[in-house]
């Protein structure tokens, strides 16, 4: 029996096996596993252990070491089998749930494959420089309160459909993201100002008492912090929404970075959780990961079925009495309206508020005539347009009222 890892600096593993392990680690990284040096070293340690390196135990051992979330846990055996069996042919091994479904239309997503000319989405976003940053900052202000520079002003009220210039699109996306972050800071400030003491904080009171020679004269009080708001966003990624989805991806990215507790889902014919992908700090990388996850849409939207999945599989974990659910969709549902109405009712019972953002509501002369939209409306607390930045900014007071 070997001692603890701290006491085994030199690990006795043949060079050939080391090489194969390194290859396996590369293949895991290609599949998006966060494998660092520490994990590689521990993997070598496992190979040196008689009982763990046995064929029957090796896969579960490495799985426990390398996987760190349910999705990785599920994919691991497949990647493992593919690598250790296919290594002689030298094939590259990548598996992902999405790529198997095929039929992808990635053009409307700012993913790695997106070319600059297509749908006006820039394939690479350069860091905005100082000057632009300030412009965007004031534009944010314009979106919510007062007028800023003319270019920014026009951006706030331009329907996302009509944006064509790549630079303009990027500016709009950055604005959407900053807007989402700003919503959070405003909400937090409100909570703090409202705080007043009820219980005595003994630790602080005693610290203060030192000044008075040990007499606790100033009583420091505290009150349990108000529970922060939680936001769950469900984004429609069907073909009819594609002109809007890129902007909302950035908006969601901002929300996830700002809100301590937020979750994001995307749906078309299926429902996929994208919170993890969007937690990536860099917006471009987040959008890339998002695009990979959202592949495979193109058929009709089945909003009812997607909500059913949400209610069944995710609602009990993600929804609390202080959760607002935000659905971003044009309401074109190819499923049965009865299903949508039933699932909306279930959702309404569990969440604090249900907000439905419909980009088409901002169009002149639009009336929610789509059957799905009509079925859903009775169960919605707030039905608002979301076709430009000004309409997104108008949401903030609504969210604060939760």
């Amino acid at each position: 029996m070997r001692p603890a890892p701290a006491a085994m600096p030199e690990i006795d593993v043949p060079a050939a096996i080391r090489g194969r392990l390194a290859g396996f680690v590369r293949s895991l990284r290609m599949n998006g596993f966060p494998v660092g040096l520490a994990e590689s070293r521990d993997a070598l340690a496992i190979l040196a252990e008689a009982d763990l390196a046995r064929p029957a135990a090796l896969m579960p051992s490495l799985r426990t070491l390398f996987a760190s979330r349910p999705s990785d846990w599920e994919r691991f055996p497949e990647i493992y089998a593919a690598y250790w069996r296919a290594r002689r042919t030298g094939m590259r091994v990548t598996t992902s749930g999405a790529s198997r479904t095929g039929g992808l239309d990635i053009r409307s997503w700012p993913g790695p494959q997106a070319k600059p000319a297509i749908e006006g989405v820039p394939d690479r976003v350069t860091r905005t420089d100082e000057a632009e940053d300030h412009a965007a900052e004031s534009g944010d202000e314009a979106g919510s309160r007062r007028a800023g520079g003319s270019r920014v002003e026009s951006l706030a009220h331009t329907d996302f459909r009509h944006l064509t210039d790549p630079a303009e699109i990027e500016a709009a996306h950055a604005l959407a993201e900053r807007l989402a972050r700003r919503m959070r800071t405003r909400l937090v400030r409100r909570e703090r100002i409202a705080r007043r003491g009820r219980r005595i904080d003994l630790r602080r009171t005693l610290a203060r008492a030192v000044e008075h020679g040990g007499e606790p004269i100033d009583l420091v009080r505290r009150r349990p912090r108000a529970k922060p708001l939680k936001l769950v966003i469900l984004l429609d990624a069907s073909g009819s929404m594609s002109v809007y989805s890129a902007t909302f991806v950035r908006f969601m990215h901002g929300v996830l970075a700002g809100f301590a507790r937020a979750d994001a889902f995307v749906f078309h014919t299926r429902l996929i959780q994208v919170s993890q992908a969007l937690r990536e700090r860099d917006p471009v990388r987040a959008a890339e990961r998002f695009a990979l996850l959202a592949q495979g849409f193109g058929g009709g939207t089945r909003i009812g079925a997607a909500l059913e999945t949400f209610n069944r599989a995710y609602a009990s974990r993600t929804l609390t009495s202080r959760t607002a659910v935000m659905i971003v969709s044009d309401g074109y549902d190819t499923g049965e309206p009865e299903v949508l109405a039933r699932e909306m009712a279930r959702l309404r019972r569990r969440a604090r508020r249900v907000i439905w953002l419909n980009p088409m509501l901002g169009w002149r002369d639009y009336a929610p005539a789509a059957r799905g939209m009509r079925a859903a409306l009775p169960h919605v607390d707030l039905f608002a347009p979301a076709h430009d930045l000004a309409s997104l900014a108008a949401l903030e007071p609504e969210l604060a009222r939760l």
Partner: protein, 291 residues
């Protein structure tokens, strides 16, 4: 620290405590000891994550120290706190004494309240530290925990740095109500706990309910596996299936007494919605298919 056990030994000892492990879990537990890393257990509520920690404490013959997480959990509740009431009394009682002496007195061990995390690193023999439902704690607490889990030492300003006398076996559980940080996930080994497969569930029932008929246990396990595939608001876990089986001990076959089965369902289906969805015919069909 005792010598690490190998995989087979762990599996055997777990079985001896009445916990029926699957092989992969025994591997994960062996690995956790060997590498000295915490183990993160994730899975649906009711699959027996907490039981694993209890069983691990039992096979090592050590204490189980449990920290239940909740929203707003902070250092004072998790690590240590001074006993302020006693400190105030002591200050009053020693009024007029030299201030330095009083201060040294009230900031000594006697006035320190140990909370689970501090208790865990001050044990003679390495305990099992169970950090239950880490997903309920705030992100700030998660960051603090990471720090503790990497150096196993705690600094108390008035007292100095306390270094672990023994490194505890750390098990974290999560129901995935919130995404955990990548840093925490990377620090930990990982095991996804699923509902037990029918043959394993049957063994669990037999181990926990010695009076139960073997054929009935198998049948109930198969019934549960089918039931969990139905569209339920609250999927029954292992604890529920134990209650269900306990109320049916004495039967030899589920088909023998449909009324008893229907009555026992209150142990499994805990929302009105679920009860309404599973009509008696549906139950009868599931029972028939599990025979």
């Amino acid at each position: 620290m005792t010598a690490p056990l190998d995989r087979e030994a762990i599996a055997e000892r777990l079985a001896a405590t009445g916990y029926v492990p699957d092989r992969d879990l025994a591997t994960a537990l062996a690995l956790m000891q060997r590498l000295g890393r915490p183990l993160l257990l994730e899975g649906e509520a009711g699959v027996g994550k907490t039981e694993i920690a209890k069983a691990l404490a039992e096979i090592h013959g050590t204490r189980l120290i449990r920290l239940q997480c909740w929203e707003g959990l902070d250092r004072a509740a998790a690590l240590y706190e001074w006993n302020y009431q006693r400190q105030l009394l002591a200050i009053k009682a020693r009024e007029g004494h030299d201030a330095k002496v009083v201060e040294a007195e009230i900031f000594s061990e006697a006035y320190l309240l140990e909370r689970p995390l501090l208790a865990a690193i001050r044990q003679e023999t390495a305990p099992v530290l169970l950090i239950d439902e880490i997903d309920r704690a705030d992100e700030e607490f998660e960051a603090f925990l990471l720090e503790l889990l990497s150096d196993f030492q705690v600094t108390i300003p008035e007292l100095g740095t306390i270094t672990a006398t023994s490194v505890p076996h750390v098990i974290l559980t999560s129901n995935a109500t919130r995404e955990l940080s990548d840093a925490l996930r990377r620090r930990c080994l990982y095991h996804y706990v699923d509902y037990p497969a029918p043959d394993r569930e049957a063994r669990i029932l037999l181990a926990r309910l010695p009076a139960i008929d073997t054929a009935l246990a198998t049948q109930i396990a198969r019934f549960l596996a089918k039931l969990r595939k139905e569209d339920l608001a609250k999927v029954p876990g292992v604890a529920e299936s134990l209650d269900f089986a306990a109320s049916l001990v004495g039967l030899a076959d589920l088909r023998e007494d449909p009324d008893a089965v229907r009555d026992a369902l209150i142990a499994l289906l805990k929302t009105r919605e679920d009860r309404a969805r599973l009509a008696p015919q549906v139950i009868a069909r599931l029972v028939e298919a599990s025979a």
